[in-house]
């Protein structure tokens, strides 16, 4: 008798989702789905607003990565103005983006995935949480909080608040970094480097400890996409789009972000509010691609900072000669390398005299009717695409969010995990948590991807071929 397993809600991610796993008559996994069950509709209700308001409005999509929306939206606004954004403003925007990468990745690795990674997937669910993490490894919890605080402080130093700063605007930014705050941040950097060094050591232990099951967490061929700098280096703010396949072959190079519609198409399914973007030239199946830290480290030629480059060389051993790293479990490792890279870039920028230049905003009116802003959010490439009338009133809005672009891969990961770990008709917490972790490695932000806010509870239902509910686990 076939059946369906449903996991609802999925926990320790941002937003609401559930997972269903359909079994066939022989008890084998026939299909699985990662359903995103929330809807908000920013793309619709922003129509009719002025593009000047968009950085402030779209930053409200998310309390975790508001900076990503702020920057992508401001860049779209830059294009509508048709101005050259002053170099000091670009440096300040980059600085804030690195602060966000630090705080967001720290939360994902240390506090959201930390309980699984330290206590193990089969640990008692009542202990596999922050309380268990503190008991088992208080230093790790402190490390996560310390890095978070540093990243949030950097954002606050520029934007006056760490959540929903209203700071970047079309044409530039509103204010510079006060010198005393720059000095305070510089003083904290040595401790931040030490924290991430320890975490990288820990990560290698984790990879050893999970070696028997790492290949179940999204190990499959796919394409990878991300921005790269003009010299091929790791890039998070500007640059060109690069797409590679799982052999490392470059399919797209130096693609202008503004031409993203030639690269990406968005499919829909009636069982999820989250769209399914794919690489257009290869179609919905072969065109599955991943974005985010893993993809960025795969598509770049090098990082571009000494410490991160040293770590990147080690990371690439997990991919094989000349090939990308194709296991999604390595997103965790990639996040730590990106924290290290961000700290190095922050140090460079804080020492740069350009930050004290007061020319931080270019002024203009509407000079173009289309604006496209692209940047790398912590979870991957973020696109904001606006069409405005001559008065700057929005006529159309399209937002393509990182989590959406990983949707096909997340679904495939859930199926891979289910195939590996489900047997028989009973569910257990270890299975539930492994499937959840398969989603958690992507650090999805469903609030962003559906432009919705909320929590991510999880339910797994096991349903027979006749539609009978055989077993169910639910977590709120």
């Amino acid at each position: 008798m076939s059946k369906t397993v449903t996991i609802e809600p999925v926990t320790r991610i941002e937003g609401h989702a559930k997972i269903t796993i359909q079994l066939d008559d022989n008890g084998k996994v026939a299909d699985s789905r990662f359903h995103v069950t929330e809807f908000r509709g920013f793309e619709k209700f922003c129509v009719g607003r002025s593009f000047w308001e968009m950085p402030g409005i779209t930053a409200r999509i998310c309390g975790i990565c508001p900076v990503s929306h702020l920057l992508a939206s401001s860049k779209a606004g830059d294009m509508i103005l048709g101005v050259r954004t002053p170099a000091p403003a670009v440096a300040l925007r980059r600085l804030m983006n690195y602060g966000q990468l630090v705080q967001s990745h720290a939360l994902s690795f240390f506090l959201l995935s930390g309980p699984d990674l330290i206590l193990g997937m089969d640990a008692d669910p009542s202990q596999r949480n922050i309380a268990g993490l503190i008991a088992a490894d208080p230093d790790l919890a402190r490390a996560g909080i310390g890095l978070r605080a540093f990243g949030q402080k950097l954002i606050r130093s520029l934007g006056d608040r760490s959540v929903h700063p209203s700071w970047a605007v079309p044409g530039g930014v509103r204010k510079s970094l006060p010198t005393e705050q720059r000095d305070e941040l510089l003083k904290q950097l040595p401790a931040m480097y030490a924290t991430v060094d320890n975490a990288l050591d820990l990560m290698k232990d984790i990879l050893d400890r999970f070696s028997a099951e790492i290949d179940a967490y999204g190990e499959f061929p796919s394409l990878f996409m991300g921005l790269v700098a003009a010299d091929g280096g790791l890039e998070h703010y500007d640059g060109k789009l690069r797409v590679i396949d799982s052999d490392g072959k470059v399919l797209e190079d130096s693609a202008a972000p503004e031409s993203y519609q030639q690269l990406i198409a968005e499919a829909e399914q009636n069982w999820s509010y989250l769209k399914f973007p794919y690489y257009k030239p290869l179609g919905p199946e072969a065109g599955m691609y991943r974005v985010g830290p893993l993809a960025r480290l795969n598509v770049c030629d090098f990082a571009g900072t000494p410490k991160a480059d040293r770590e990147l060389r080690q990371f690439r051993h997990y991919g094989g000669q000349g090939k990308p790293v194709t296991g999604s479990f390595y997103y965790h490792y990639a996040r730590l390398i990106e924290i290290l890279f961000s700290l190095e870039r922050i140090e460079e920028l804080l020492a740069d005299e350009i930050l004290i230049d007061h020319h931080i905003r270019s002024q203009a009116g509407v000079n173009q009717n289309v604006g496209i802003g692209v940047s790398e959010a912590p979870r991957g490439t973020l696109f904001h695409h606006y069409r405005v009338d001559d008065n700057g009133i929005l006529e159309a809005v399209n937002l393509i969010i990182a989590t959406g672009q990983n949707n096909l891969a997340m679904n495939k990961t859930v199926k891979q995990l289910a195939e590996r770990f489900i047997s028989g008709s009973k569910l257990d917490q270890g299975l539930l948590n492994r499937v959840e972790h398969g989603i958690r490695v992507y650090d999805p932000c469903l609030s962003c991807s559906t432009h919705e806010a909320g929590r991510m509870p999880m339910q797994i239902k096991l349903i027979s071929a006749k539609g009978e509910l055989l077993d169910e686990i639910e977590r709120s």
Binding site: L111, I130, A131, A141, I145, R148, A149
Partner: protein, 149 residues
């Protein structure tokens, strides 16, 4: 020194009562009396603010629709069992300060009753009235924490 954290979303009607009251307290109290933080939501790194050496007590301020009185103030028991993610409970912040930074700081939650949490920057008449009472209670409480309203 007191640490006062008013949190909520000012774009969701009465949910903004916490930040609004914190802002008013900032005008009334001296920098030596209290450090005021206005937050959209409680996040894990606030544990570091609580654990700072100069802080002797914490007052969280939030809006609620689930109480029978206009204003309530009650002591918080540190608790590590809440979820720790993109937002956390005040009890967990106290626990994090105690367990990770060895600072057991007494904490209270002041709740203001609201009735309209829809998309608006306006506070309902009831929330405005309750906030006025909450301001008075908060000042009295900070002067003498043994007196509960």
């Amino acid at each position: 020194m007191w640490l006062i954290i008013g949190y909520g979303n000012p774009l969701r009607g009465d949910d903004g009562a916490g930040p609004l009251l914190a802002g008013k307290l900032a005008e009334q109290l001296s920098a030596a009396q209290a450090k005021i933080i206005i937050a959209h939501q409680l996040t894990p790194e606030l544990a570091l603010e609580i654990a700072a050496a100069k802080i002797h007590s914490v007052l969280f301020i939030d809006a609620t629709r689930e109480q029978s009185t206009a204003v309530d103030i009650f002591p918080l028991i540190p608790d590590a069992n809440g979820s720790c993610g993109h937002q956390v409970a005040p009890q967990l912040l106290l626990q994090l300060a105690e367990q990770l930074y060895d600072r057991a700081v007494p904490g209270w939650l002041l709740t203001i009753t609201g009735e309209d949490f829809s998309f608006t920057e306006q506070r309902s008449a009831a929330a405005e009235k309750n906030s006025t009472a909450a301001f008075r209670h908060a000042i009295e409480f900070i002067q003498n924490p043994k007196i509960l309203p």
